[in-house]
Subunit: 207 residues, 2 copies
DNA sequence: CTATGTGAATTTATTCACAGCA
DNA sequence: TGCTGTGAATAAATTCACATAG
C-alpha cells in the first residue's frame, strides 16, 4: 500500500518536482543538477537528493539527473502512469472552477463527471460535462471512477462523503471546511482554503 | 515576529480548532473536553492539549475548556482580532470562486479588491467588487491592503508577486502552481490544488 | 573538478504516561 | 473521579558533511 520508510513530506514534494521537470523538459532541456532544480522549484538541493535517494539512484555523480528518467521515475512512484477519472460533487462557484481547472491534466487526471443537488443546475453543462443529480452517485461504480472531489457546503460534506464511499471511491479531495470521517481504506485530503489565509497574520503581523 | 518554540504544525491546526469551536458555540455549547473537540475536528485529544499548552493554561483540570475563552485565545494568537482586507489578482474561474468564497469571513477576512489584465473583465463586477486593471496594483498601498491572493496562470505569477510586494503586501496566498520568489519579510503560502490530487494514487492504488 | 548519494547529527513533531488539580 | 497540563520517550523530518563516482 505505502512504500515503507518514505517520509510523507517526500511524497508531498514529488508532484512539485514532477511539475518543474515537465516544464523544463518542454523548454528543451534534458539534464539538470539538484541545485538548479532546487532553485527552480524552491527546495534545497540536498533535500531533493535525499528525496530521490529513497527510491534508488536516479542521477549520475558529477553530472546530474536526466530529466526524462526522473519524470518517468516519479510518475511510477506516484502511480500516475494511467489516466484516472475523478468526479466532482458540488457545482457551485468553487466546484465550477475546479471542473474547469486546467492543472489536473499534467498529472494525468480527468474530472469527467459532476453532481449537484440543485434542480436548477442538474442537466446543465460546464465544460461539456453534464451535471447530474447527486442521488445518482452510485453510477461511479459502473464508470470505474475511484476519486471524488467534494465542493459542497460544510453541512452536506459528510453525507456526500458517505455516498462517495458507498459508490466505491478510494480517495476524496475535500474542499469543504470540515473534518470528514471515512473507513480507513479510503484516503481523504482536505484543502482548507480559509485555513491557509487564517495563518497569515500570525506570520506577517509582527509584535 | 514568531512566537518562539511553537511548532508550525500547531499553528496549522489552530484555525481548524477555531472553526470547530465557533461552530460548537453557535450550537449553544459553552464547554468542551479535548477528546470531544478532537472527535469533532479530527485530531487526537493529547495533540489538542499539547497544542494549547504552548500558550498557557486554557482549561480547567477535571472539567474541560470554556469555548469562549478558547476562541478568544486562538484569535489572539493568530492575530485575527481585527478584520483584514485582501486583494485578489486574477479573475478567471478560480479567482472568481475565491472572490465569492464564503469561508474567509469566519476568520475576519474580506476580499475587497480584485485585479485582472484582461480588458474585457476590467470594470465588470463580481459580488459587488469591481475588477481593476492589474497595472493599478499600487493602490493597495493607499488602501492599506496587506494580503494578496494570486490566481493567475503560472507564467504570470512571479511578476504579479513582484508587483504585490512593491505595493506593500506582507502575505501572499498563491494558487498558481509554481514557486514564487519574494523578499524574506514577505510570507508566501502556495496552495497547489493539482498537487494534492497527484498524491492520491500513491495512497490509494495498492501494489 | 563537479555533483550525487547517504550515514550521522540535529531539529522538529508526535505520542505517551502520569502528576496535578477541581 | 475526570480531564487538563507537561516532562520524557519516541518518531519523523531536516540538515550536514563528506565519501564516492564520472
Amino acid at each position: 500500500m505505502k512504500h515503507k520508510g518514505i517520509p510523507d513530506e517526500t511524497i508531498r514534494r514529488l508532484p512539485v518536482y514532477l511539475r518543474g521537470l515537465i516544464f523544463l523538459q518542454e523548454g528543451g532541456q534534458d539534464r539538470i543538477s539538484s541545485s538548479k532544480l532546487g532553485d527552480f522549484v524552491g527546495v534545497q538541493s540536498w533535500q531533493i537528493r535525499k528525496d530521490f535517494s529513497y527510491f534508488g539512484e536516479f542521477g549520475v555523480r558529477g553530472v546530474g539527473y536526466e530529466i526524462k528518467k526522473l519524470i518517468d521515475g516519479i510518475k511510477e512512484i506516484l502511480k500516475l502512469n494511467k489516466v484516472q477519472n475523478a468526479a466532482l460533487v458540488g457545482a457551485g462557484n468553487l466546484g465550477s472552477a475546479i471542473l474547469s481547472y486546467p492543472g489536473f491534466e499534467l498529472y494525468g487526471f480527468n474530472v469527467t463527471m459532476a453532481f449537484d443537488n440543485n434542480a436548477k443546475k442538474i442537466g446543465k453543462k460546464i465544460k461539456s460535462i453534464e451535471i447530474m443529480d447527486v442521488s445518482k452517485l452510485d453510477i461511479l461504480k459502473k464508470k470505474n471512477v475511484r476519486l471524488g472531489i467534494i465542493a459542497v457546503p460544510r453541512s452536506e460534506a459528510q453525507e456526500i462523503a458517505n455516498a462517495l464511499v458507498k459508490a466505491g471511491v478510494k480517495g476524496i479531495l475535500n474542499f469543504s471546511p470540515c473534518y470528514i470521517m471515512v473507513p480507513k481504506k479510503v484516503k481523504v485530503m482536505t484543502i482548507d482554503i480559509a485555513g491557509y489565509l487564517a495563518r497569515m497574520p500570525y506570520y506577517t503581523l509582527n509584535g
